[in-house]
């Protein structure tokens, strides 16, 4: 196994808040509060991260090199200087892909064992 794959494998499984944040960041840079709103939207309000959980996860992702703080700002009229923006790194993208693959395998196993219905 290449070193790059080993690095990614060590990060799995990703905690759900981290996975959701990485997915949200795949679509562009966001600040913390925007990430929270995006996750709320993606999960139909089921995953409502508190400030501590949100920035705790961001701190872990920055430590592991999954995301980084962005120096660039969006258009001036959209920007709020006091906010800090984050963007996904290459490692973060690979980790999110690997996590998605892991979940797909898991779903496949579940389908074979349980025979999942078309819709629940």
């Amino acid at each position: 196994m290449a070193k790059r794959d080993r690095d990614v494998a060590e990060l799995l499984p990703l905690p759900p808040p981290m996975f959701h944040m990485l997915l949200a960041l795949c679509q562009g840079e966001r600040h913390g509060y925007a990430l929270k709103r995006e996750i709320l939207r993606r999960t139909d309000g089921k995953l409502n991260l508190g400030a501590g959980a949100l920035y705790g996860s961001i701190a872990r992702m920055v430590e592991r090199g999954l995301v980084e703080e962005s120096a660039e700002r969006p258009d001036l009229h959209l920007d709020d200087e006091r906010r800090r923006y984050y963007r996904i790194t290459l490692l973060g993208r690979r980790a999110a892909q690997a996590e998605a693959q892991r979940m797909r395998d898991l779903v496949q196993q579940a389908e074979e064992s349980l025979g999942l219905p078309e819709t629940i």
Binding site: G32, Y33, K36, N48, G50, A51, G52, A53, L54, Y55, G56, I58, A59, R82, R83, R84
Partner: protein
Amino acid sequence: MRRLYRMMLRIYPAGFREEYGRALERQFADDYREAEGRRERIEVGLRALKDLAVTAPGEIARELWQDLRYAVRIYRQRPVATGLALAALAVAIGATTGIFSVLNALLIRSLPFREPDRLVELSRFPVSPLSGRNAVESWFQENHYLEEFAPWDVMFRPLNQYEQLATTFVARVRGNPEGYLPACRDAVQGTDPGVPVFDVKTLDQRLADVVARPRFYTTAILFLAGFALLLAAVGAYGAASHSVSQRRHEIGIRIAVGGPPGRVRGMVFRQSMAPVCVGVVAG
């Protein structure tokens, strides 16, 4: 409300607070502003409280763990000095714990009887156990200051089956036992003037006689353990002081770039506690 939340954020370790404190505060303010009505605002407050309670311990543990790992790296660079400090700490803490157990058993914990400070021992008056017991029983009935009594011996056996020359009685008196010692002696002698009654003492006095020698040894060992603890403290201080003097440059830079002195003090303290923790476990 925001001020209250800012105060609560002090639960988080300094590193996390410095990095994300403003963002946390801002998110709370956004949530609070978006809440409609009093009920929703209360919900936002409660959610923030729960979030703090759930996430703060993890952040504290993480910072502590980082400091410990760093301390281990630093101490591994000086294995001999660290080994000596650890050994001194382990010996001192082990010795202190051992001594405390002995002290506790011998001196601090009281006798395993109800109100042991009210017990008096009357020793070895040579009467036949049966008649002696009857005599003492009648003496007990006559003297209202005795609450209860029991024959006492180091070997437990039925007194009715064994003749013996001396019997020891223990009586519980109503009030201060020392004041009743002469009365107890006189009362027992009153049942048979020919019987020598001696060694009448309170149980506390008897216990003091019994533990005099162990107490002496214990005190001696206590001094030794105290000395070992002092040595360990000097060793730990030496290791911490050496580590700080080696890192003077780094600490200077930290303060120069705006690291609060309290945080630097906390970091040095936590890192110095690493060998103490190992010493405590080993001890």
